[in-house]
């Protein structure tokens, strides 16, 4: 058997589906003030942080779970979840990797994210988040030399309260919406990055999220601040064990770019998608929002969404600074019984602001995909423009693809352009490729990668190859 075939076979099943048998410290089951105090206490948080959480929780009690989205799901019992779960060995925070539980090191090694110094990924600093805690962050000393702060957010709350206080909740307020507000009340860990004025971050920053414990929601919080004239490229990866029940993942990600700063945020989302019959899988209900606060700032989101039972998210840009730029590049793939309702919001507030949306949706099997996007140009956003391109590719005739663009233009000197296409991989195209010696899987991989090229090109090189493989593998078996 050749290598390519071996590779396909080895990946046919969700290869990240293993779970690590590890002793956990958990919060009592359910959602109430005591659980929130438990989380705040175990994180040794200052008073203001607990206040933030409790305010959010008060608000949460008034909110209704939204139900306007296309993918429906059975009612979630929020009292039947654990809101904090962490390996017991993390109770007394290990001072170095040598003290870290070998089981954790082994888990990340298996996931292809070695944390040990000698095996680290070149040029990528990794913050490894396991259930509700960050277990390790690599390359910290190297980054400190440049004045860059990259650490778990729980640590930033203690060591850099002035930055966290100023920016946490400034892009996604605690009153925002049901899931975001829930996150503000119960978030556990996640990454914090601050790039000082004028610094170009010399390596990729990356967080690898792993859900391990069963019956546990993962609520991380990420906060990235790019000070004036700085640049950072940030990557996010995620996997989870195969479990029969659905698990909730409701993260908040806030990005802030000051004058002339640029943030590039890339996601390769590969949460467990459920089995072939649609049993199990992650509910990925995430709020991601970037604020182009300063003039000439730029935020660009790139996402490759292949996992989760339901993906429901709209990484957005608020273009407040004059001349600021927002970009959204997305590949979303659904197969079997997966569902996705994803897209972006581009809010133009400043003058001469520009946004670009390139969305590629691929649906196969019995899956259903919706692109939903908002382009909102305010009356003050003179001379702004948006370009949106939404392409859908269908495989087979049991899947669905929908495009729902919302366009609001209150400024007559601004322009908005929207293009959309829907196509299908035809039997004839496959036959043609097969006649040239390609297997149907190789043919689909070639066609799909061609379809996604514009987005794949946006990914940092280290991840582009992996993403390309993932795209092919996610559609495995979707052609007859």
């Amino acid at each position: 058997m050749d290598n390519r075939q071996k590779e396909i076979d080895s990946l046919k099943d969700y290869k990240y589906g293993f779970s690590t048998d590890i002793e956990n410290t958990r919060a009592p089951k359910g959602l109430n003030e005591n659980v929130i105090k438990f989380i705040s206490n175990i994180k040794k948080e200052p008073e203001w942080m607990l206040d933030f959480r409790l305010k959010a929780f008060e608000r949460f009690k008034l909110l209704k779970e939204p139900d306007w989205q296309k993918p429906k799901y059975p009612k979630i019992d929020y009292q039947d979840l654990y809101y904090y779960s962490a390996p017991k060995s993390m109770d007394d925070k290990p001072k170095s990797l040598d003290e870290l539980d070998p089981k954790l090191l082994e888990t990340y090694k298996k996931l292809g994210i070695p944390l040990q110094e000698q095996a680290r990924l070149n040029g990528i600093a990794v913050d490894a988040v396991f259930d509700s805690v960050s277990v390790a962050t690599t390359f910290r000393e190297e980054l400190t030399k440049h004045g860059i702060i990259f650490c778990p957010i729980s640590e930033a709350i203690q060591k850099h309260p002035e930055l966290v206080k100023k920016y946490l909740g400034s892009v996604i307020p605690i009153t925002d919406h049901f899931f975001a507000t829930l996150n503000s009340a119960v978030f556990t860990d996640g990454s914090f990055a601050y790039i000082p004025e004028g610094v170009r971050c010399p390596m990729e920053l990356s967080t690898y999220f792993r859900i391990n414990a069963s019956n546990t929601g993962q609520f991380e919080r990420t906060l990235i601040i790019a000070d004036k004239g700085s640049y950072v490229s940030y990557l996010e990866g995620c996997t989870a064990p195969m479990r029969d029940e659905n698990q909730l993942h409701a993260a908040n990600v806030e990005l802030i770019a000051l004058d002339d700063a640029e943030i590039k945020y890339s996601t390769v989302q590969n949460w467990y998608p459920g089995d072939k019959d649609g049993k199990g899988g992650i509910y990925n209900f995430v709020t991601k929002r970037g604020l182009c606060k300063g003039k000439n700032s730029k935020i660009s989101w790139t996402q490759v969404e292949t996992g989760s039972a339901i993906t429901w998210k709209y990484p957005s840009c608020i273009l407040r600074g004059d001349n600021s730029v927002g970009e959204f590049y997305s590949i979303a793939i659904t197969n079997n019984h997966q569902k996705a309702d994803t897209g972006t919001k581009m809010i133009h507030l400043g003058k001469n602001t520009k946004s670009k949306i390139i969305s590629k949706g691929i649906s196969a099997g019995f899956s259903d995909m919706t692109y939903r996007g908002l382009v909102d140009v305010s009356s003050k956003a003179t001379n702004s423009n948006n370009y949106t391109q939404c392409d859908s590719l269908l495989m087979g005739n049991k899947c669905g693809a929908h495009t729902v663009p919302y366009i609001k233009n209150k400024n007559s000197e601004s322009t908005i352009a929207h293009e959309a296409t829907t196509s299908k991989i035809s039997e004839e195209q496959l036959h043609y490729c097969q006649q040239r010696g390609l297997s149907s899987e190789e043919a689909v991989g070639l066609i799909v990668n061609g379809f996604c090229k514009e987005v794949l090109q946006q990914l940092p090189m280290e991840f582009a190859v992996e993403a390309q493989k993932l795209v092919g593998i996610s559609l495995e078996g979707s052609v007859g």
């Binding site: 036959h431 006649q435 190789e442």
Partner: protein, 244 residues
């Protein structure tokens, strides 16, 4: 090399091929001529492995039952079809498609795969021979190509893959005389004692440039007459009607 015995083919309850037999030896060039609807394209579809037909009878390629082989396995064994209507594949770069195809076939044959540099050298050489515009190699496969360019692209692929049996399904239709000569050159270059060709066409024109060893007249699903190159000329003069 190729033995077809009493092949019957039906699609959507319509009988297309009715007792078709043909024998092609290594190095031979066979032409099949026939009117519209006589079963020419069905024959090339079935040889290439296209699904959707109900068949009976036997097809042996180098002694192996062709029906046992998937489409890509037939390609690996050296069967090539120049499509009557080459497919457009948006987003897929022509060079990448050609390289993926060539390497898939080389790998199946146990040959070393070509790296980017080796491949580019080869494809440039072949493109030059076929006067195929090199800029097209960097465009999306067949997207926006003229009819003639698509057909030349088929011949370019044929010459890259160096198949044992090449089936040309109405490759000449829609070609101007210059393009026709280029296509013929492509075939003649590949022609030797080992490689065989099955040329399916309406017209005798192409056969002025590719001299066949045998000409067969296909009507109503089977061969009604076989002969040498002169048969093509006779056919052109008399028309198909008089063969009924």
């Amino acid at each position: 090399m190729l033995k077809i015995n009493n092949l019957n083919a039906t699609i959507d309850n319509k009988s297309i091929l009715k007792g078709f037999s043909l024998n092609i030896n290594p190095g031979e060039v066979h032409a099949i001529m026939g009117p519209n609807g006589s079963g020419k394209s069905t024959l090339s579809n079935i040889l290439s492995g296209k699904k959707g037909y109900e068949t009976s009878g036997e097809i042996l390629f180098e002694g192996k039952d062709l029906f046992e082989l998937e489409t890509e396995e037939r390609a690996h064994k050296g069967i090539f079809l120049a499509f009557q209507y080459p497919l457009e594949i948006p987003g897929v770069n022509t060079n990448i498609f050609l390289k993926t195809s060539l390497n898939a076939i080389r790998k199946a044959r146990g040959e070393k795969e070509l790296d980017a540099i080796e491949f580019l050298k080869l494809v440039k050489e072949k493109s030059k021979d076929l006067k195929f515009d090199e800029d097209k190699l960097n465009r999306q496969l067949n997207v926006g190509f003229s009819g003639g360019e698509k057909k030349k692209n088929e011949i370019l692929q044929m010459s890259l893959l160096a198949p044992k049996l090449s089936i040309l399904d109405e490759t000449d239709s829609g070609l101007d005389i210059d393009a026709l000569k280029i296509v013929a050159d492509g075939v003649n270059t590949l022609r030797d004692k080992k490689n065989s060709f099955l040329i399916i066409t309406h017209y005798q024109r192409l056969l002025d440039y590719i001299k066949p060893d045998f000409v067969h007249v296909l009507m109503n699903g089977k061969i009604v007459k076989s002969g040498g190159p002169d048969l093509a000329i006779e056919l052109e003069n008399k028309g198909y009607e008089n063969f009924n």
